[in-house]
């Protein structure tokens, strides 16, 4: 497993596979490193606030990313502007790195839309609920990049790659295997990024796989690497490398970010029914934010003024999320008929008319 930062916040230098990746980290400025920390803290705060909003009845459900912040920020910050991300429904940290307002994510969980952002605007595609389906979309998109001649040209602004996010549970789905097959035989520029958080709702990884997941790539004919998913530096470096390989025409790459889902699968389940708290306590000691903060402070790359400023920013962001959620309007009801087809559809047009007239009849009866 690639690790560049121990849980105690010590840099792992050389002597292992890690040495291959240190250059990526060495190239980062202090400002960029502080930016990683800011991302980690802010997205955790969004998550905390969203969980609270769900408990207060303002969101129907929430899928927490608690514990997976480094896997998402590390990989999200490794993306080039022209790369495309295909998320599942928990990639709030990646969305953040792509510049998607967290309120756009909350809309789906509040029930005002089914994914209300334009994927083309931020190169961040819609959340996918059906487990693993997006890995095929990502692969097809990567095939499109190939056909556009935007891979392996050597032009860093032109060459693009796709990253597909999924969990350990998704690896049991046929779609993920088919995506691996297509990507491999097409040599498509796609990085498969598995956040192995060790739980598929209540089922542990042993119910999904018999071998370490990163080893699956070998059977499909492309490289796979396991990285400490709670180490933002290692995730960044490994993903950056994988994306570079894909962009340069080397084909797909599997990154398994080994992490832990600290919360429930969603706010609807109760992890105390299926896992022991001792495990959670062990993983608390591997917290991605604490270790990175310790390293930044020890190295003198950030001081208490910075850390305090980030906390203040988090407070502000939490307020934005809370206010924005409470003020989020329900969609205009007839609009549900509007976006089903591009071309006019006589049945839908008639139903829309009936719907509007039916509701108008109630308003009329009140007047």
């Amino acid at each position: 497993m690639i690790q560049l930062l121990t849980p105690e916040g010590q840099r792992v230098e050389g002597g292992t596979d890690a040495a291959d990746y240190t250059a990526y980290v060495d190239a980062l400025s202090d400002e960029e490193l502080r930016g990683f920390y800011r991302d980690l803290v802010l997205i955790r705060r969004v998550d905390t606030e969203a969980t609270a909003l769900q408990r207060q009845g303002e969101l129907g459900i929430w899928a927490s990313l608690l514990g997976q912040e480094a896997a998402q920020v590390g990989s999200g910050r490794a993306l080039a502007p022209q790369d495309h991300a295909f998320p599942t429904y928990r990639e709030h940290g990646v969305a953040w790195c792509r510049g998607v307002d967290p309120l756009n994510l909350l809309g789906m969980f509040r029930g005002v839309n089914n994914g209300g952002w334009d994927p083309a605007e931020k190169n961040f595609h819609l959340y996918t609920i059906i487990i693993g389906a997006q890995t095929l979309h990502a692969t097809g998109y990567a095939m499109g990049i190939q056909r556009d001649g935007a891979v392996g040209t050597g032009d860093p602004d032109r060459d693009a790659a796709v990253i597909a996010y999924f969990g350990d549970g998704a690896t049991a789905q046929g779609d993920v295997s088919e995506a691996f097959t297509f990507a491999a035989v097409m040599n498509a520029p796609v990085v498969f990024f598995c956040q192995n958080n060790q739980w598929a709702i209540s089922e542990p990884s042993e119910r999904q796989t018999r071998i370490p997941l990163y080893q699956r790539a070998r059977g499909f004919g492309f490289p796979g690497v396991r990285v400490d998913g709670n180490d933002v530096l290692a995730v960044y470096a490994v993903t950056k490398h994988a994306l570079e390989e894909a962009r340069s025409g080397q084909g797909p790459f599997l990154v398994e970010a080994y992490t832990y889902r600290m919360g429930a699968h969603t706010t609807s389940d109760d992890p105390t029914k299926y896992r022991v708290s001792a495990d959670v306590e062990v993983w608390k000691l591997r917290d991605p934010i604490a270790r990175f903060k310790a390293w930044l402070a020890r190295e003198g790359r950030a001081d208490s003024t910075f850390f305090d400023a980030v906390e203040a920013q988090a407070d502000e962001l939490a307020l934005h999320v809370r206010r924005g959620t409470l003020e989020m309007p329900d969609p205009d009801a007839p609009s549900m008929f509007d976006h089903v087809y591009v071309e006019p559809h006589p049945l839908l047009a008639a139903e829309r008319e009936q719907f509007v007239a039916y509701h108008a009849s109630f308003e009329g009866s009140h007047s």
Partner: protein, 324 residues
């Protein structure tokens, strides 16, 4: 005018669409060098290259799932499913992803994908090669579903299906692939999305699509010899339904029989019967009747002639409608 089989009309239609728009790509199993199991894509890989005529791995979910990604990138994938019974592994991608992407993106994303499916029985095939599964897809909002019955509609229809920004399930009647007919070289005068009156008549309307249109036209010819005038409507678009044409016909004849190969329960005939009855009730002299496959798994091919509606069963349906 030129004489073409339905299969060749489709090949020419695909070729025309590919020449017109470089974003059109074909995907499927065996569609390259072999030209597809029905040879519909014959010669296209040679002329357009492997990047545009893609021989895929043998994985239907993969074919449609990656087509979604290509469409998101601005391509117009035309996917070939080898046989009707092989579409089920791709079902999730068609009904949950392709059909819903536009609605869930609030209109920012289009899915200009055509899913070509050779459909229906009558060729003596083994199981899973003869099914009529259109009702699964007509039941799904977000999809358009069409079924062509003749070379002219095949040639123009495939081009219209590719040109629309909405996803289309495009059924091709496999036992009619080798039927020849005239194909006009001018632009289509009728849209793929509207029904066509294939034969005018006054006593009873017979509605069919795809492979059953020919059977119904034969039935109408036989009925004419006995002094009965049947109007045959070729539905072409199964979703959305062209109720205007259907109701205009039934309001003229007062009777309607819907014919399809698919099992009748929960089938498209039920939808047509309900929709037409609702709109044209006062013009009906008889209930809208259905003639379809029995409610069975598709039987072994030695029994398919008993399973599939034929000319006599269509005429029997007409007799029942006229007896009211």
């Amino acid at each position: 005018m030129t004489q073409l089989t339905i299969a060749k009309a489709l090949t020419n239609g695909l070729r025309a669409a590919m020449e017109k728009d470089p974003k059109v790509v074909l995907m499927g199993e065996d569609i390259g060098k072999l030209g597809g199991v029905f040879r519909v894509t014959e010669g296209l890989q040679k002329d357009f290259g492997e990047e545009r005529v893609i021989d895929t791995p043998l994985a239907e979910a993969g074919i449609v799932g990656t087509a979604v990604g290509l469409a998101l990138r601005g391509y117009r994938p035309v996917v070939e499913i080898q046989f009707d019974g092989f579409v089920y592994p791709a079902f999730d991608h068609i009904v949950s992803q392709v059909a819903k992407m536009r609605a869930r993106s609030l209109g920012t994303v289009a899915m200009p994908i055509v899913i070509r499916i050779p459909v229906g029985g009558g060729i003596g095939a083994v199981e899973h090669h003869s099914e009529s599964n259109e009702a699964y897809f007509t039941h799904t909002a977000g999809l358009k579903v069409v079924c062509v019955s003749n070379p002219e509609d095949a040639y123009w229809g495939i081009q219209q299906a590719i040109a629309t920004d909405d996803p289309v399930v495009f059924y091709e009647p496999k036992r009619r692939y080798w039927d020849k007919g005239e194909v006009g070289i001018d632009a289509p005068t009728r849209g793929l999305w509207s029904a066509a009156v294939a034969r005018e008549g006054t006593d009873c309307t017979v509605v069919a699509y795809g492979p059953m249109v020919k059977t119904c036209l034969q039935a109408a010819q036989a009925a004419a010899e006995e002094g009965r005038s049947l109007e045959v409507v070729d539905l072409r678009s199964l979703s959305p339904l062209d109720l205007d044409t259907l109701c205009a016909s039934v309001e003229k004849t007062g009777r309607m029989v819907v014919v399809h190969e698919a099992s009748t329960s929960g089938g498209l005939g039920a939808e047509i019967a309900a929709a037409v009855t609702q709109r044209s009730f006062h013009h009906l002299e008889a209930p809208v009747l259905r003639v379809g496959g029995y409610n069975l798994p598709y039987p072994p091919s030695r029994l398919e002639e008993d399973f599939l509606p034929d000319l006599d069963r269509v005429l029997d349906g007409v007799d029942r409608a006229l007896a009211f």
